[in-house]
Symmetry: C2
DNA sequence: TGACACAGGCAACCATCGGTTGCGCATCAG
DNA sequence: CTGATGCGCAACCGATGGTTGCCTGTGTCA
């Protein structure tokens, strides 16, 4: 039973910088490439690229406002991503537990 | 409260091929680069590289056996990785819940 | 024992990706 | 109008996931 994972979603939240960006966006409600880059150890351009991939998988939405481009987290989609984290985690957890049981059974009978 | 994540561990299990490899190893108990590559859409060499990174972060252990090199999952370390998945998931889950509460409060008072 | 088969390591090469710098364009403020 | 600022685009670089090709070492079998 290999847990079905949306690979695009997963790899989107797989990048540590993107995770921090989502964290920052959630904390402050919204932000631009420039405002985010000020709170991160990377340049505005790098942040812009990341916002691009987050946008493509629907984890954030952009709202043009004047000369700015304000980004905001799509909580539903992020919820879906988080659920996948949980699903994969649970699947492996269950498998590990099963293996541990088998090991104990063997030890008992051996 | 940004959940502390071991970036090496995370990126090790972040790769979809490596996740499948861990799945396969857990399912069959052990395997070699060659045996794994037969069950994956990549070459033996690619698998060997992945086994290298999994080995470096301690997620698998190698046991030379004759002309083979048998790999096996270190369940403790994998457990640690899975726990991190859970931790990150929970952190975001909590934050999403908090935001939802705030949104509801605003709607009620506005 | 000698010849062949097969697992695995090493190296070169390629595409993609995260990151950088540099530049040009648009928009807002004085 | 002019300068500052926010953004997009392009070129470039290093790391990484992947490939093919080749060589070494270890079994196996006649």
């Amino acid at each position: 039973m290999t847990v079905a994972v949306d690979d695009d979603l997963w790899s989107a939240i797989g990048d540590p910088t993107r995770r921090r960006m989502l964290d920052l966006l959630l904390a402050s409600g919204a932000g631009t490439a420039t405002s985010l880059s000020e709170q991160l150890p990377v340049t505005r351009q790098a942040v812009a690229k990341h916002l691009g991939v987050l946008d493509r998988v629907g984890l954030v939405q952009a709202t043009p406002a004047g000369r700015e481009r304000r980004y905001q987290v799509d909580e539903v989609q992020l919820g879906r991503a988080v659920a996948q984290l949980g699903a994969v985690g649970n699947a492996w957890d269950a498998r590990l537990r099963r293996i541990k049981q088998i090991a104990e059974a063997i030890q008992k009978n051996g």
